[in-house]
Symmetry: C2
Subunit: 230 residues, 2 copies
DNA sequence: CTGCATCCGCCTCGATACTG
DNA sequence: CAGTATCGAGGCGGATGCAG
């Protein structure tokens, strides 16, 4: 029953003793977007077996990375959420995603895709300096998904679901979102073509582009050397 | 024969398609310290099966992360080294090691340990601002291992082996090195007790402590909340 | 000695079915 | 909705062998 360990007095090996098994880091990716129910995780991780998910969740709880909570009264359901220790994995996932851009390329036919996996990239490329002293949120509606980005005095985090009081709501389809990320179209052009709708304070739009769009490494395009996965 | 994939259009999933298997990220950890021969990797990764190592090396080569090179004339042997793409994994490993400190604790009896796995932490905690405009290297002799840290105008990297022209050579045993990392002893105290030997420019010693020791998170101690691996 | 390939046994994982 | 039970395939660990 003992979990397989690398048995090395090394911080990387210790981290991988806890996180190194299949699916575990992708579960963290999902939970970084906010608390999730068991079935939310199941459908957010296409291909995972239910017993594997249950096993991982138990393990992450005993390791202090994830905790179970009950949602406030109306919805009496259990959710899994990251503890502060689990939230400290954010830099790990963000650096991994940044590196993974080299292998992203174009979506393959039949491949699972979700706007939320790409929206997290905004977090990785955010200009934290420009976010200092600011406290607001931007909402993104992409195809059917609703997500938002919270800016809180130097912290920038992507979350799933609608924002509390967004100063800006952006609506696009998935292809336009990809094109924006790949820099094959600008926001202004997309608006002109009716593919992108802005709602809210125009100045907030400028701030959002400064904070989120400035240093973002293009994705889905060929601006960075891309390697085919073997 | 096809490698197992998550089949998700997500940069994190793409990265894990390439790096997610057992041992792979620890191989990167080893190679970040410099080029290594097959047998060096074999003994640097205690417990790995030779066929697994060979398989991973082939895979990393086809992915463009590792390349084979022949050493300069005297030693006519093959080594594996990171490509620029592979070297871009440095932030991933450093953030993983930083997080892994929460689970490091004290060495368990019988556990594999090496000073190089801890020396890499100096890289993670380095004050890059203080390293600006500076170009020098510090050598560390710990028990029998020889390592060094290269400072090159804002870049700080730990490497295995002796330094080229170190401005400073520090010699300790492993326990003292651990105690310094845990902050249970200061460098001055260790020198006074004859457990730490400095050789070289005293001013360089001050610079080294400023760059490497300033923001370093203590390891091996209990200054940060520690969780037992389940 | 280095750099693997082969064989074997276990144990993790994936897929499906089933239950409170 | 939130998992548990079962079973087969395959990745992995350990030992051994062998070519350059």
């Amino acid at each position: 029953m003992a979990r397989r360990s690398y048995d090395q007095y090394c911080p990387a090996a210790r981290a991988l003793d806890v996180l190194g098994e299949r699916w575990t880091l992708l579960m963290i990716r999902e939970l970084l977007l906010g608390p999730k129910r068991y079935t939310d995780l199941l459908e957010g991780l296409p291909g995972i077996a239910p017993n594997v998910l249950a096993d991982r969740l138990r393990h992450l709880q005993t390791a202090g990375i994830v905790q179970r909570s009950s949602l406030p009264p109306p919805a009496a359901s259990m959710v899994y959420e990251l503890t502060p220790l689990g939230d400290e994995l954010r830099p790990v996932l963000l650096s991994l995603m940044t590196w993974g851009l080299h292998f992203l390329g174009q979506p393959k036919p039949g491949e699972n895709a979700s706007p939320r996996w790409l929206l997290q990239l905004l977090e990785a490329g955010a200009d934290l300096g420009a976010a200092r002293g600011l406290r607001e949120s931007y909402q993104f509606c992409i195809d059917g998904s609703v997500l938002h980005v919270v800016v809180d005095d130097g912290r920038v985090e992507a979350r799933e679901g609608p924002a509390h009081e967004p100063v800006l709501v952006s609506t696009t389809d998935f292809d336009t979102f990809l094109a924006l990320g790949a820099r094959t179209i600008t926001a202004a052009e997309a608006v002109a073509q009716g593919k992108l709708e802005f709602e809210g304070d125009p100045e907030a739009g400028e701030r959002a582009i400064t904070i989120l769009g400035g240093r973002l490494i293009p994705f889905g395009g060929t601006d960075i050397p891309v390697r085919a996965a073997a």
